[in-house]
Symmetry: C2
Subunit: 420 residues, 2 copies
C-alpha cells in the first residue's frame, strides 16, 4: 500500500468532550478529503484550554502532513484557538482591515450592529495567510512549518463546509503533488450476520490485492461492505474495484445492493424519479422518521406526496380507515392493521406506493407475545400489499432506525419486483 | 480549578476516519462520565491499523489516568484492537471457556449457528480482567499499568452503553477515590447574537469564581449557555451554580429557558404531560421532522396524537382543508396557508395544540420575494392561532433543524402564555 500525504483533523470544544454536541464536522471532512485523494490518519478532539490545543497541534504535526483544525474561533472568551496557534508558531495577532470590512458587510446585510467583540474577529496571526470566509465572520488562517500545513477554520458546519470546498481543498491540491488515488466502493448486504458473511467471503478476502482493504460495517439491519483501493493511478483503483464488485454481486446475488455508498433514502428517491412514481407514508412506531428521512433529500417533493403519522389508534381509524374491530381484535401491532394502514394511505394520499409501520419501539409497552422490538411493516401498490414482522432490540432509537431502513428496503424490493 | 483523575476516549475504525460513520459513542460516553464526576480531557480517533492503535493507546497513557477504547472487536479480519492491546501490554490471547459459553447462549437465543469466527470472539488477552458483555458477544477487557486503567469495549452502541452503565462506571468509582465534583448547568437564550450576548454578560463572566467556566454554544437559532463548576464538594458546585443561574434568569428575563440541559422535545413533552394536554403536527417543509423529534422521546404517545405531512398542495387541501383559492393566491409559503394548516390539524387530529410549518427548505425553489430559507410557522389552540415568518439560511438540513426548534419554542411560549 502506498504511503502519501496524510491528514489529521483536530476539533476543538469542551462541548465535544462532555458530550453535549456530537462531532459531525470531522466525518464530513473525512469524506470530502477521501473523495479528493487525501487520506485522514488520525482525529483528535480537545477542549477549550490553550495549553491542550498547543500540544494537540504539535503532536499532530509529528504524525501528519496536513493538520486541519476546526472550532474555537468565536468572539467569546472561551474561544482560544488563535491564541494557541500564535503560541505554536511564534506569531502575534494583528488587526486586518480587510477582514474587518468583510465582517462589516455581513453585519449590515443581516441588519445587525457591530460591537467590540465582533471587531476582535478581525484580529489574525501575523505569520498566517488569511483566507476569506464568505460564509461567516471568523476568518480561516493557513500556516506552514517544515513542509507541513496547518489550517484553522470555524466550527460552524456551514462555514467550515464553505471553506473546505471553495478554499482548502483547491489550495491543498495545488500545494501537494498527488500520487495517491483512493477509491471506496460500498455495497449493502442483507440476510447475513457479520461473521457468517465474513466466512462466506473468506477466500475472496484472502485473494484481494495488497492495495485493497475490505471492511464490514453492520448498521441497523444492513451490513455495509466497503472495498477501499489505495493506488498510484485512478485506472488501477477503478478497474480493480469494478472487477471485485462484479465478483461480489455474483456471489451474493439477491442479497446485495451495489449502490451502498448512497443513503437508502437517496436511492429510493432516484428509483422513484426515474420511474415517474410517487410514495406516501403511514407511520405509527416510526412517528414521522420515514417521512423525515425521505424529505431530508433535496427535490423530494417530486416523488414524496406526504404522509400520516397515526400515532393513536383513533387516528389510524379516522385518517386511514383501519377497522376498529381489527384494532381491538388483533391490536395495533399486527398484520391486518399494518396492511390496512398501507392500503388506506394509498387511497387517502393518492400515491403509487405506500409504506406503513406499526410496532413497539419501547422501552415500555411490551408483552410476552409481543415483546418490545416487535414491528410490522407493509408496502402497498395497486391492489397488492406485502407485509413482514420483525423482532428488533429493546432500544428505542435503534428500533426506530432499523424500522426506517427495513421499510425503505422493502419498498426498493417491491419496486424491483414490479417493473413499471 | 482542581485537577483530578482524567479520562481519554479512543474510538477505532476506518469508517470514522473516512467519514462513513459519525462517532456518536464518544459523545454519549463523555456525558455519562461527566455526570459521574470524571473529566474527559481528550479524544482520539484512529483507523484499523495495529501500529496506529498501539501508538494511540501509548500516547493516551501519557495524558490521562483512564483510557476507554471502543471498536475493533468484531469477528472479522479488520478488527485488530485485541492484537494491538496484546502488543501494548505484552499479553497473549487465550481461549476463555466462560466467554465461549456466553456466546453460545446468545446465539441459541437468537436461533443463529455458531461458526469458527464467532468462536474466535472467545479469545481474550491473558493479562486482562475479562468483563462479561450481557448485551453482545465481544467481551470487555480491563488492563492496568502504572496505576492507569485501560478498558476495551465493543463499538456497537447498545453494547458499549450496557457495559459503561453496568460495569465500567461502577468499577471506576471503586477504583478511584473521587475528589472532584463536576456540575454543568445549561440554559437556552433566544433573541441575541453570540457576541451581543457575550457583551451583555461581560461583567457577569468577569466575576465568575475561578472554578466555574462559561461557554456559548450557538445551535439552530438558540444559544445554549453552559456554566460548569469543577469543585471539591458537591455542595459548593451546586450552591454556586444555583446562585449564578438565578442571576442569569433575572438579567435575561423572558429570553431564557433555564431547563437548557434538556432537549426541547423532551421539555415540550414534560409540559404537556403535566397539563394533561396533547399536541399534533401539520408539516410541509419539515417533512415529518417535528413528529420524529417528538416521538423520539419514550412515552410520547401520552401527549402526541399524530400528524399529517402535507408535502403536496393537494394534500394540504384534502387532509387539512386549506383553501385552494388561498393556496393559489398567496402560495403555500404564506401566513394564510400555515394558519389554515394549524387550524385544520386541530380539527382533524382532535388535539389541544397543533403546530404547522410551510417554507422553502431549499436548495431550489426560491424567488426574489420568497428566497430559500423563508419559513412560516403557526401554533393553534382553541380558536386562536399565532404565526411567525422566519428567514433562515440556504442550507436544507440547517433550515429543517431550525424550523423544528423554532416550532417547538413557539409551542412552549404558547403554553406558557395560556395556563390551563
Amino acid at each position: 500500500m502506498y504511503k502519501e500525504m496524510t491528514v489529521e483533523i483536530i476539533t476543538i470544544g469542551d462541548e465535544l468532550l462532555i458530550g453535549q454536541v456530537v462531532d459531525t464536522n470531522s466525518a464530513w471532512m473525512g469524506s470530502l478529503l477521501n473523495d479528493n485523494g487525501f487520506e485522514v490518519v488520525h482525529k483528535t478532539v480537545t477542549g477549550d484550554k490553550a495549553e491542550n490545543i498547543v500540544s494537540a497541534v504539535n503532536a499532530a504535526g509529528c504524525r501528519a502532513d496536513v493538520i486541519l483544525i476546526t472550532g474555537g474561533l468565536g468572539p467569546t472568551s472561551d474561544d482560544l484557538t488563535l491564541h494557541a496557534l500564535c503560541d505554536c508558531f511564534g506569531a502575534s495577532l494583528r488587526f486586518s482591515e480587510e477582514v474587518y470590512v468583510h465582517i462589516e458587510k455581513i453585519f449590515s446585510r443581516r441588519n445587525l450592529t457591530m460591537n467590540e467583540l465582533t471587531r476582535n474577529q478581525a484580529l489574525v496571526p501575523d505569520k498566517a495567510t488569511v483566507i476569506r470566509n464568505e460564509a461567516g465572520t471568523a476568518p480561516c488562517t493557513w500556516f506552514e512549518r517544515d513542509g507541513k500545513v496547518f489550517v484553522s477554520m470555524p466550527g460552524v458546519p456551514a462555514e467550515m463546509k464553505w471553506l473546505m470546498t471553495h478554499e482548502v481543498i483547491p489550495r491543498l491540491k495545488k500545494r501537494f503533488r498527488q500520487d495517491l488515488y483512493i477509491k471506496h466502493d460500498t455495497c449493502w448486504v442483507t440476510g447475513y450476520t457479520e461473521s457468517a458473511l465474513a466466512i462466506e467471503l473468506a477466500d475472496f478476502e484472502k485473494r484481494l490485492p495488497s492495495f485493497v482493504k475490505l471492511a464490514y460495517l453492520p448498521q441497523a439491519g444492513i451490513i455495509r461492505l466497503r472495498l477501499s483501493a489505495y493506488s498510484r493511478t485512478s485506472e488501477e483503483a477503478e478497474t480493480t474495484l469494478a472487477a471485485l464488485r462484479k465478483e461480489l454481486e455474483q456471489r451474493l446475488h439477491g442479497q446485495i445492493n451495489p449502490e451502498g455508498d448512497k443513503d437508502i433514502e437517496v436511492l429510493v428517491g432516484e428509483r422513484l424519479r426515474a420511474r415517474g412514481q410517487t410514495v406516501g407514508t403511514a407511520e405509527s412506531c416510526t412517528g414521522g422518521a420515514i417521512a423525515a428521512a425521505l424529505t431530508s433529500v433535496a427535490g423530494s417533493s417530486d416523488y414524496y406526496v406526504g404522509g400520516v403519522v397515526s400515532y393513536s389508534n383513533a387516528l389510524k381509524h379516522k385518517l386511514l380507515n383501519v377497522s376498529e374491530t381489527d384494532l381491538e381484535r388483533y391490536g395495533a401491532v399486527s398484520r391486518p392493521v399494518v396492511e390496512q394502514m398501507a392500503r388506506g394511505a394509498l387511497r387517502v394520499l393518492g400515491c403509487d406506493y405506500a409504506v406503513a409501520t406499526s410496532g413497539l419501539a419501547g422501552p415500555g409497552g411490551g408483552t410476552a407475545e409481543k415483546p418490545v422490538g416487535t414491528v410490522w411493516i407493509a408496502v402497498a401498490h395497486g391492489d397488492d400489499v406485502v407485509s413482514n414482522e420483525f423482532r428488533f432490540s429493546n432500544v428505542r432509537d435503534q428500533n426506530i432506525r432499523r424500522t426506517v431502513n427495513m421499510s425503505l428496503l422493502m419498498l426498493l424490493n417491491e419496486m424491483r419486483d414490479r417493473q413499471p
